[in-house]
């Protein structure tokens, strides 16, 4: 099957390494192989999220010997409110001062149900007129989740999030998108900015 092997230089060329001169036929065949690989890759149908749902549905099937109540609990969606104020106060990274305009933020505090988790987001932005929360959980709508301002300039919002990974930013004064520097992960948003990322588990945020 390999009666016409590539030369060492052609292999180095295909590896993207420094290489010597290639004959015309070597370069043509090497380029054709790379072009075909790209065409093949572009034509491959992607695996969509139905795979994820199918796997998780399978995993939620009761296993032999597993008590039935366990699965009933997993299927329940019931908000459980717990006092958040103490946790919020402990988490808030506050830099006081009326001249301050740049917002400071705090990692979200959480109160958990089983597959719905209440997460409290906070940002200290005394100079802001409005602050909203936008993320993968609300289609990045900059107006759908306005945060509430307290007298000390802290803006808070508590929302229910499903267990899983979510990205978000704060939208200050309707225009300025601000990642949460206290989040434990940041990721490029594809538009030159940065999204903050949290992973929500049934017992709170999962940290690296």
């Amino acid at each position: 099957m390999t009666d016409n092997p590539f030369t060492r230089d052609a292999q180095r060329y295909l590896d993207g390494s420094p290489h010597g001169d290639l004959s015309e036929s070597e370069r043509r065949d090497a380029d054709a192989l790379l072009a075909a690989a790209v065409a093949y890759r572009d034509a491959l149908p992607p695996l969509d999220a139905r795979v994820d749902s199918a796997v998780m549905a399978e995993l939620r099937q009761p296993r032999p010997g597993m008590p039935a109540w366990r699965w009933l609990v997993q299927a329940r969606v019931r908000p459980v409110w717990v006092p958040l104020a103490a946790a919020a106060a402990a988490l808030l990274m506050w830099v006081a001062g009326p001249e301050r305009t740049a917002p400071s933020t705090a990692a979200p505090a959480v109160a958990s149900a089983h597959d719905t988790v209440f997460v409290q987001f906070q940002i200290a932005a005394p100079g802001a007129r409005t602050v909203a929360l936008a993320g993968s959980f609300n289609a990045w709508d900059p107006a759908a989740l306005p945060m509430l301002r307290a007298a000390d300039g802290t803006w808070t919002l508590t929302i229910a999030l499903p267990v899983g990974e979510h990205s978000y930013q704060f939208v200050v004064d309707g225009a300025r998108w601000q990642p949460d520097p206290t989040a434990h992960a940041q990721v490029e948003d594809g538009f030159g900015g940065t999204n903050s990322v949290i992973v929500v588990g049934g017992r709170g945020l999962v940290r690296t």
């Binding site: 099957m1 390999t2 009666d3 016409n4 092997p5 590539f6 292999q11 295909l14 590896d15 065949d29 054709a32 192989l33 790379l34 072009a35 075909a36 690989a37 065409a39 093949y40 890759r41 572009d42 034509a43 491959l44 149908p45 992607p46 695996l47 999220a49 139905r50 795979v51 994820d52 199918a54 796997v55 998780m56 399978e58 995993l59 997993q74 597959d115 267990v163 899983g164 990974e165 990205s167 434990h184 992960a185 990721v187 990322v197 949290i198 992973v199 588990g201 049934g202 017992r203 999962v206 940290r207 690296t208």
Partner: protein, 176 residues
């Protein structure tokens, strides 16, 4: 990327089982194309991914190094793909390629033919060569990434890729 894989694996093992969905989503995003390319069609790739995820779930406690979960999962998926390849010769679904190339007919016809020729040649490689070629040229991975996934040294991987390319050159020459 959010919390590292290892932190999520540990949380799942500690009882937060729904978080396994985060790992499934990440693995599908990273290895979905590999599975489809190894088996030649989306349905088989999807089946392989599902089976691999379920096997990973059942043996998660055996993942000795949760911080290297992704490589551990890859080996489960690669074994699954090899098992399925052994059951039948893959036939890349050319209809799917046609659907993806419906616009700009002249240029896309050429690309469709290229993709179909490559798919047909891939079907005639050994599983090991196919894996090496797919990882290098379809997934676009570096040899160092491949080393992490396969646990095989870079020199040996280069040899596999070079042999796969030689075979592909011959096979694609036959179709011209």
């Amino acid at each position: 990327m959010g919390a590292a894989d290892g932190a999520i694996v540990r949380a799942v093992l500690a009882g937060q089982e729904d978080l396994f969905g985060v790992l499934v989503e990440r693995c599908r995003a990273e290895f979905g194309r590999y599975a489809v390319a190894m088996l030649g069609d989306a349905d088989a790739g999807s089946d392989a991914m599902q089976e691999a995820c379920i096997k990973a779930w059942r043996s998660l406690a055996d993942c000795r190094d949760p911080d290297r979960f992704r490589a551990w999962f890859y080996r489960i998926l690669a074994n699954q793909c090899r098992t399925m390849l052994g059951r039948r010769r893959p036939q890349t679904d050319i209809d799917e390629i046609e659907v993806a190339s419906r616009e700009r007919p002249d240029r896309d016809l050429e690309r469709k033919e290229l993709a179909a020729a490559l798919a047909a040649a891939l079907d005639r490689l050994t599983a090991e060569q196919r894996e090496a070629f797919v990882l290098k040229h379809v997934d676009g991975r570096s040899y160092e990434e491949m080393e992490t996934l396969l646990g095989v040294g870079v020199d040996a991987l280069k040899m596999r890729v070079h042999r796969a390319r030689d075979a592909m050159r011959t096979l694609m020459g036959e179709t011209r």
